[in-house]
Symmetry: C2
Subunit: 263 residues, 2 copies
DNA sequence: CACCGTTGTATCTATGCCGATACAACGACG
DNA sequence: CGTCGTTGTATCGGCATAGATACAACGGTG
């Protein structure tokens, strides 16, 4: 939306919901629970949201069938009764909020996507051959597949497969190329060197793009690769970064994700 | 559901869709595009999926109204015609797959959640007072709010607000406490020290939990805080990590996210 | 020129979800 | 004991979406 910070950074608005037992918990449900918390009754929540009370109640029941008790309801008594958000309902809202935060983050944080082919797989970590050399990262396979989902996404990756390597700009650390750190003192494994090509400064956060030289591989000429790094403006100042500077990039293998890439 | 690999890792199943122009692109649409790519025709794709051909076609049209050309359709000719996935359709599938990868990652990567109150806001970065001291992180506010969305999530954060600080375990770097690195050479700002409390070893990736002492704050006694870090098993070996060891943690402010926490 | 399987297009029907409405049950309070 | 506002429960109609069906248009192929 905003402007020309990144080519496509904000292009991917999304919508996410929790799923348990086949029941989706989406923004509408979150709003309902929040309204119940605010109003102290399902009836009040429904009228505040302009929704049907009976529907709201039955919706809560189907949610509770899947997620457990969410709202403690009581009828009769002072004020005719009322409903309070249960602790587990609050937890569910927290989970939902965190999911939304992750989604907003992926939409607003630029990512670098490289094509590559899997060289080797060792447990959860795969080594991928890319234009800028071998990179290692996690492939999402945490054991199970989304049952009601898609077709061929995520899932397993095998040696030789074409994949995309996804590096979130917030995972990349920028160092002065001169002061090289002892490689044995840190758990960040992927490293590259390159030259700063552009700095997009935000208020307190800057997106630094670093041009990385492709490795020499026979006749095949690869286009230059730009890796984005999101760092605080303060760090830009502290490192004295300016276009043309040589820097070293570093990020953890566990912050790198592989996506199976059909074709 | 599955079993006891991780305590709760798979608890947060989710479902995400891209949204553009009010039109959702979800797993069902992804499966349709993939089937078109495989079958070479919308008719073949529909029958392969057991869906109505006419509906599939009209669905593709509404998708194209929002996302641009996705499928190149041709009628008449050899084989009676056919359809091919356009390049932009392939790109859209890639975007969707990456979104799914992010979602799967957040479901499988542990995160540390701390409660805190916002101390100060400086642009996109906020400083939050937590049980383990002041931490800085991004608040999702990228300028706009989800129109058709929720109520009080994400959005803006103000000084004094209670928030949750979310730290993905894949963003935390573990260092030997002894060999302290020159603080001016790196752009990672948040740092803590603590003792390793537990190491859950996967095949090649381990989740290390580090107990961090809460800062002393008068009479108020806070429970000990455990921060999770996801690092390669190789790094565990290289650093010689074992329960009880003193380590220093480090992660970037830009990899820390704040979630407004009602109440 | 007829054939073929596909893309377009229109229409009818079934299904599921939501709002609207109505009524019974509940229990503290006055 | 009646009042009150809520929770439960059932039913009806509206609306959007998907499937089913039918038919026209298209353009290589034989």
């Amino acid at each position: 939306m905003s402007d020309a910070t990144g080519p496509d950074a904000a292009a991917g608005r999304g919508h996410a919901a929790l799923v348990e037992d086949g029941v989706e918990f989406d923004g509408r449900d979150a709003a309902l629970l929040r309204a119940v918390d605010a109003a102290g009754s399902v009836a009040g929540a429904a009228s505040a949201l302009g929704r049907s009370r009976a529907r709201a109640l039955s919706r809560i029941e189907t949610l509770e069938d899947a997620y457990g008790t969410l709202v403690e309801r009581r009828r009769g008594g002072e004020g005719g009764g009322g409903s309070r958000l249960a602790a587990s309902g609050r937890d569910l809202l927290d989970r939902y909020d965190r999911l939304q935060a992750v989604l907003a983050a992926t939409a607003s944080v630029p990512e670098t996507v490289l094509r590559g082919t899997v060289e080797a797989i060792d447990g959860e970590i795969a080594v991928v051959d890319t234009a800028v050399g071998a990179l290692s990262g996690l492939h999402g396979a945490t054991g199970d597949e989304d049952a009601g989902g898609d077709g061929s996404d995520g899932g397993t990756v095998a040696a030789g497969d074409p994949v995309q390597v996804r590096i979130g700009a917030d995972a990349v650390t920028v160092n002065d190329a001169a002061s090289e750190v002892d490689p044995d003192a840190t758990s960040a494994r992927n490293r590259l060197t390159g030259r700063v090509s552009r700095i997009d400064s935000g208020e307190t956060v800057s997106t630094v793009r670093i041009g990385v030289e492709p490795v020499d591989r026979g006749e095949r000429v690869e286009a230059a690769v730009e890796v984005a790094a999101l760092i605080t403006a303060e760090s830009v100042g502290r490192l004295g970064l300016a276009p043309g500077d040589r820097v070293s990039l570093r990020w953890k293998a566990t912050a790198t994700r592989l996506v199976a890439h059909a074709e």
